[in-house]
Amino acid sequence: MSPPRYEFLDADMLSRLGSLPVESRTAMVGNVAGRHASPHRGSSVEFAEYRKYVPGDDIRRLDWKAYARSDRYYIKEFEADTNLRAYFVVDGSGSMLFAGKGEAKVAYARRIAASLSYLLVNQGDAAGVSICTEKLHLEVPPSRRPAHLQRIFDTLADLEPGGETGLVGALHQIAEKINQRAFVVILSDLFTDPAALSEALQHLRYRKHDISVFHLMDPQELHFDFERPHRFVDLEDGTALVAEPSLIAEEYQAALSEFMLSVRAKCHDATADYQLVSTDTPLEPLLREFLIHRIPKGK
């Protein structure tokens, strides 16, 4: 019996997480009414502010009680609610294939992207996927239709990482292509130049997108706990190196720490929601905390 095609989906987990909304940290610009705040004033029940009446305003929105108290015309403005469009940018480089002590980083990315897509579509938001490699940039545009989910899952299921990363280019493309504010979720080990990554994130920020970064790392990459000499072969370009891990562990940790600090700082500068994820971490608590943390205070 062949394994189920969407083995990265955990129905029980999704049902448990279904009670939690996927919130946006910034105002969204959607094309239908939804649960997310819009930069535009609209017709929701949530009061936003008063402003002076100007000719042309809908007189139905005049606050007569305010006029009675102040003898001035005020227009009562309410928050506009709209839907959220989410882009899951999944790194398809060879490095995502690494599976040391946890599961492969790409598998973990599949589960995050599929689960969050499901939750978003289920709450009426749109979700799309963008797979990026050095040579290929495969994109499934966001859609609210439940049937669209299958396209997303198929794309994720068919993902076969290889070659060097094209993440930075893909992010620039996405920033240029998406005109309206969107929720951009990056799923990658971020093994690229931090400066170039920073530029891409700043590009997205400039376009006022809500950015979340899941920095996926295998526990073995984090701890480098090898004992005997190993021949390390690069998953992306095939470069080989024979090394005594005990001899270079300290330098490795230092280089890794420097990279991690740099990446986190770049994300911070771009107001991105940065999460370092070890691939041996259970997914459900991770997503639960992620979702809870995104719920605005007081809501």
């Binding site: 060879g94 690494f98 190993h230 072969v233 998953l235 330098e251 999460q275 370092l276």
Partner: protein
């Protein structure tokens, strides 16, 4: 040592094998790995090397400790425990000398050192070959080493070429790792560097299946003041006994010394004193003999000094034997003078007979033959040669006539006559050796009074001891067997020379007679180790001693079938001179040997001390250092620690 190297190599081999047995892993975070690899140089590699070194040294120390090594001057930097130790012990008389400011003899010091050293080699079998018996003997315990009869003091000589050969023979049938420990005072006379046997000994040692290491312990140190006395001869002269003595100072002191001398003869004690100014003194002492005593014995001794064993010398005498000489001369005058000089009136026991060359009597009881006739030929020549080989003395004088016959490749040149109104004068003669040597008190023979107008110089292979003023030979000597042949280039005849005057002829003839009569005395004097003494002979002298060695290795007076026999220590034991390290290297060339000259002043000093405890401590320290080096460095908290949902 091989085990130590192997142990030290284990961590290195493991390290190299580990490097070869690397696994291949596909890796994503290559950029950090490459950077780490570039930066992992210098201190890190040094630390790793230090760890490897600590491990190697710790294992080496453990292996070395397991061998229970001993260090010290005798053992060098470290000696492992051999399966078998063959101790070659020098028990010669010279080993009884004491180093200056030391209360023990060299042999006793060596035994104390050996006891201490062997205690640290408790697992090794110990076999001893002593220089006196030459027999290999198992040593049950090092503690009884100085109580064994086979380590007691003796008056013997040592022959190390032979002893080491015996050690090699023993090892030929032994198994396991062996060492030879030689304990000696390196007296050159005991090592016989010129002995051809060394070639065989070296070959025997180097061709053993497991060539042994040879450690030589020389108990050195400055010699205490010491004088040795020796009896050279004991000659009966009428009612007296003439003792030829030699006193040797074996230390390096040069100031004049007066020594009391004690002579014990047949129970009576005589005392005298002698003055010695150089290193060696030869003298004669005449002591009266008890009346009508056929034979007897005694000893002569010096006061105690650095070597008690050479302070006494034994002598024995037998019945008076007439000293007979035979004169063979063609002229009456020469025969008369030679008869008078060889047996002057008043010299008890000396007699001389005159004979012709054709009718020689039996020569066996003669001491000296004076021959002033043509050289013997045919059967006579054979008899004379036999007489010489048995220790007789033959003095040939230039015969009248011109015969050119030869005897033992020696012959006479034709008769020469000095120029008119001139004569040949004896101008050069050997004053330390030969018939014209100076007397014991140093006064010279007045040989320069000799004048000659006729002469016949000898020719042939003989050493020249005196020359005329024109350089031609007057006196020549040739050793034949145990005897000596002399050739004198003129006649005691006034037609030839004034040799008939007693100035030269008397000492010349008397010395020949005394030398010839010694062959009858040697039966009463012998040396330890010669075969003259039967194993069952009992010691009869009353010299106070505390010797525990077997009698056959001790000097003294022993009862033999022919009467008392005086046995003294070998002559070479009084010879000063030590073998130098270079000479020793030559003798033991090709063998693995080392020399330790022990100059220490404390008898309790050990030759070495075990260091296995120190090695174990060193191993522990090395392992501790290795553990400290292996401790991971405290790293500052970094982002490398995964913190899910850490937010910027």
């Amino acid at each position: 040592m091989l085990w130590v190297l192997l142990a030290a190599a284990i961590p290195i081999i493991v390290h190299l094998l580990n490097r070869r047995r690397h696994r291949t892993v596909k890796w994503a975070a290559m950029q950090f790995l490459l950077k780490a690899s570039r930066e992992s140089r210098g201190k890190k590699r040094l630390r790793h090397l230090l760890i490897l070194t600590c491990r190697a040294l710790a294992l080496a120390a453990l292996a070395f400790a397991a061998a229970q090594p001993v260090v010290g001057g005798f053992f060098g930097l470290g000696a492992g425990k051999p399966d078998l130790i063959v101790v070659v012990l020098d028990r010669s008389a010279s080993m009884e000398s004491s180093p200056a400011n030391f209360g023990h003899s060299r042999r006793e010091i060596a035994l104390m050192r050996l006891k201490g050293a062997l205690k640290d080699f408790s697992g090794s079998r110990v076999v001893m070959i002593d220089s006196a018996s030459g027999q290999a003997q198992e040593v049950p315990s090092p503690q009884v080493l100085d109580e064994l009869t086979s380590t007691a003091a003796t008056d013997t000589r040592a022959d190390f070429a032979k002893l080491l050969g015996q050690a090699a023979d023993y090892l030929l049938h032994a198994s396991g790792k062996a060492e030879i420990w030689v304990v000696t005072d390196l007296q050159a006379a005991n090592w016989h560097p010129e002995d051809a046997l060394w070639e065989t000994t070296r070959a025997a040692l180097t061709t053993l299946p497991q060539p042994p290491r040879i450690r030589i312990l020389s108990v050195a140190g400055k010699d205490s003041a010491n004088q040795a006395i020796r009896t050279l001869s004991a000659r009966r002269a009428g009612d007296t006994l003439v003792l030829g003595l030699e006193v040797v100072r074996t230390d390096e002191a040069t100031q004049p010394l007066t020594l009391p001398l004690s002579i014990q003869l047949d129970g009576a004690t005589l005392t005298d004193s002698i003055a010695i100014s150089g290193q060696r003194l030869q003298l004669e002492k005449t002591v009266p003999l008890p009346p009508e005593r056929e034979n007897g014995f005694g000893w002569i001794s010096l006061p105690g000094d650095g070597n008690p064993r050479d302070n006494v010398s034994y002598f024995a005498y037998g019945p008076a034997r007439p000293v007979k000489s035979l004169v063979v001369a063609t002229t009456g005058e020469a025969a008369t003078y030679l008869g008078l000089a060889s047996a002057p009136d008043g010299f008890a026991g000396q007699s001389a007979a005159v004979s012709s060359a054709d009718q020689l009597p039996e020569l066996s009881d003669l001491s000296t033959l004076f021959w002033a006739a043509p050289l013997p030929q045919g059967e006579t020549a054979r008899d004379v040669q036999q007489f010489l080989e048995r220790g007789g003395q033959v003095v040939f004088f230039a015969p009248p006539g011109d015969d050119s016959s030869s005897f033992l490749d020696l012959s006479w040149n034709p008769t020469e006559t000095s120029p008119p109104e001139q004569y040949w004068i004896l101008s050069q003669w050997e004053r330390g050796d030969g018939l014209l040597r100076d007397s014991l008190d140093g006064s010279p023979v007045p040989a320069d009074r000799l004048r000659a107008i006729l002469r016949r110089t000898p020719t042939g292979d003989a050493s020249v001891l005196a020359r005329w003023d024109d350089g031609e030979t007057f006196l020549a000597r040739k050793i034949v067997g145990a005897g000596t042949l002399w050739m004198v280039a003129t006649l005691p005849d006034y037609q030839w020379s004034n040799l008939g005057d007693a100035d030269v002829l008397l000492p010349l003839c008397q010395r020949a007679v005394v030398a010839g009569s010694k062959r009858f005395e040697t039966g009463r004097l012998t040396e330890v180790g010669t075969s003259l003494l039967s194993p069952s002979a009992s010691r009869i002298d009353d010299y106070p001693h505390r010797d525990t060695a077997e009698p056959r290795f001790l000097a003294g007076v022993y009862r033999s079938e022919d009467g008392p026999l005086a046995v003294n220590r070998p002559t070479e034991e009084d010879l000063v001179g030590a073998l130098d390290p270079a000479g020793l290297d030559l003798l033991l060339d090709g063998t693995d040997h080392s020399l330790f000259e022990d100059n220490r002043t404390s008898a309790s000093d050990a030759l070495g001390r075990p260091i296995w405890q120190a090695l174990l401590v060193a191993m522990l320290l090395l392992l501790l250092s290795e553990a400290l080096l292996c401790l991971p460095k405290r790293t500052p908290a970094t982002l490398a620690t995964p913190r899910p949902l850490t937010r910027a």
